[in-house]
Amino acid sequence: MQTYILRRVLNLIPVLFLISLGVFVLLRLVPADLAEIHAGLYGTEQDIEQLREQFGLDKPMLVTLAWPWEGEFAWPWEGKFWHTQYFEWLGSALQGDLGESAFPNKPQGVTAELLDRLPVTAELLILTLIFTIAFGIPIGIISAVWQNSPVDYLMRGGSILGLSVPAFWLATLVILIPSLIWSYAPPLGYVAFFDDPWANLRQFVPPALILSAGSAAVVMRLARSSLLEVLRNDYIRTARAKGLRERTVLFRHALKNSLIPVLTILSLQVATLLGGTVIIELVFDLRGIGLLTFLAILQRDYPVVQGVALYIAFIFVIVNLTVDIAYAWLDPRIRYG
């Protein structure tokens, strides 16, 4: 089991590296110069030049492009080779320093800013995942057990509806309707869970429920069809034939096997949910990483976007590890494979 987990961790490292590299290159296509922004309206050529040096923007982006006989050239074993914007950023990022925002009026470093906002987004994501699982899987099972009954049709209809309604509209309605009928507005400003759990949940449950609608629908559809497929297997017929109760057949024999593809889709849904936090945090005015990402993209604040990309890659790694361990638990063949 330990070797299995270790092997999975090692497999994920290149992914982390490639995500950070991809986003870095993509962002440098943005026509915005950090030094020019910092120099402001009245900055002279010299100021810009100095700032460029300060931020390391005078260095090559990724690799030194030069021929061996030219002065710029360096081999990978020489220190100079790694003095490029990407590798220096990666180096300090590995030490926990993600640099500074492109906007001088934000005194905080990117790392501090991300850590500041992490609790909000983390709570939103965890609640959303709990709702996704708590609604998606049981409804999928019920729908499969009573296949083609009115209950099944109702739930499948509901899931297609959940897939079709955009989260931002649902969120708008959830804020708008109470305000029209009871002049009720949701509380503003973040309340930490441990300060006042009730106020905190009142703030987070509605957005998490809305965000989970789409992913719960996806999970429900897959849980249903996967369980139906498993129930067609011979070993299920054998279990029934030897007189086991239907409940035992379902929960002891069928369920675990049917959950394997559900786990896969759940891990893919996390990426969708991360995108969803951008919209939901904007509508509910939650000061989380989603909102930060959106503003940073809008303002072309690329040190922040790079930090966000690393955070996304990090979540991807955590999710994949959790899913891999869960796979191994659900299917012993994977552990020993």
């Binding site: 992914v15 490639l18 995500i19 991809g22 986003v23 993509l26 962002l27 296509l29 943005v30 026509p31 209809g157 297609i160 509806l161 897939l163 079709s164 309604v165 955009p166 931002f168 509209w169 708008t172 309605l173 804020i175 708008l176 305000s179 029209l180 002049s183 559809r221 897959l222 249903r224 069809s225 996967s226 497929e229 593809p261 893919l268 990426a271 969708t272 991360l274 995108g275 969803g276 951008v278 919209i279 904007l282 990402t293 959106f294 993209i297 809008l298 072309r300 976007v305 966000v308 990309a309 996304i312 890659a313 991807f316």
Partner: protein, 301 residues
């Protein structure tokens, strides 16, 4: 010759053929939800094509009083700038469906081409493609598209480019999977034995066999594309302002529908309803197409 003809006729008479329309009717009877989806899409397509005749006013004219509630003159009321919301929703169909259809066509054509080549040849190229696809899919699509649009600048054309790019990884992965099992078939071997080249086998033998899959995928992706376009426009990085876009009409300045003082709820309801119904139509049709053409895919798409 004459004898052959009668033999043929006799055979055809022996097995009475069901007329096509009756087959279709039976199919429709068994899939009422699919029919509902098809009807929604047909109505929307009609509205989009003939928007100029369906809409009573111009979508951009500000000649009316702001915040008139829904009435006979203004079915869906007027917005904060005094524009007729119904006319904007009608013209919005044109943009939503247009962006969706064009970007999904480009994206799934490119994705299918990559998937077929990648699955057919296998090897190192395939491996590279799959790893790249996995990494792109690990990244939240919405954030990636936001970055792309912010680089290219918001315009209808750039939204189409971004969504087409966003569609490719998913399509190529699923098509590749289908090609992997398809190329094991004997007809591929037979074609090769007859001297057919790789390109010929891919285009004439493998493509027709995965076409049903591509069509199902494209239908389901149309719903996704319309949702993404609405999301981007809602974040004001999609279809730029004077154009009537359902997503954009729900955001920014239009968010004055909150009840201090106007409370123009109709501005919040109708564009969102239009998005939901359109996506619902494509999802219903896509699901039904999948069940009819390839039931094995249930749950996987």
């Amino acid at each position: 010759m004459a004898i052959d003809d009668t033999a043929l006729e006799f055979q055809m008479d022996a097995r009475p053929r069901t007329p096509v329309w009756r087959l279709l009717a039976r199919l429709a009877w068994r899939n009422p939800l699919g029919v509902l989806g098809a009807v929604i899409i047909l109505v929307l397509a009609f509205v989009a094509l003939f928007a100029d005749f369906v809409a009573p006013y111009s979508p951009s004219s500000t000649e009316f009083k702001a915040f008139i509630g829904p009435s006979g003159d203004h079915l869906f009321g007027t917005d904060n700038l005094g524009r007729d919301v119904f006319s904007r929703v009608v013209h919005g169909a044109r943009i939503s469906l247009g962006v969706g259809v064009i970007s999904v066509s480009i994206g799934s054509a490119a994705g299918a081409a990559i998937g077929i080549v990648s699955g057919y040849f296998g090897g190192r190229l395939d491996n590279l493609m799959q790893r790249t696809g996995e990494i792109i899919m690990a990244f939240p699509a919405l954030i990636l598209l936001l970055i792309i649009v912010s680089i290219l600048g918001p315009s209808i054309q750039n939204v189409v480019i971004a969504i087409s790019l966003g569609v490719i990884p998913g399509v190529q992965r699923i098509v590749r999977g289908a090609v992997l099992s398809e190329k094991q078939n004997q007809y591929v071997e037979a074609a090769r034995a007859l001297g057919a080249g790789n390109l010929h086998i891919m285009a004439r033998h493998i493509l027709p066999n995965v076409l049903a899959l591509i069509i199902i995928l494209a239908t389901l992706l149309l719903g996704f594309a319309i949702l993404i376009e609405a999301g981007l426009s809602f974040l004001q990085l999609g279809v730029p302002p004077p154009n009537p876009s359902w997503g954009a009409d729900l955001s920014g300045e239009a968010r004055t529908y909150f009840p201090d003082p106007p409370g123009a709820w109709w501005m919040a309801i109708f564009p969102g309803l239009a998005i939901s119904i359109t996506v619902l139509g494509f999802n219903l049709l896509g699901d039904t197409l999948r069940d009819i053409l390839d039931p094995r895919l249930r749950g996987r798409l």
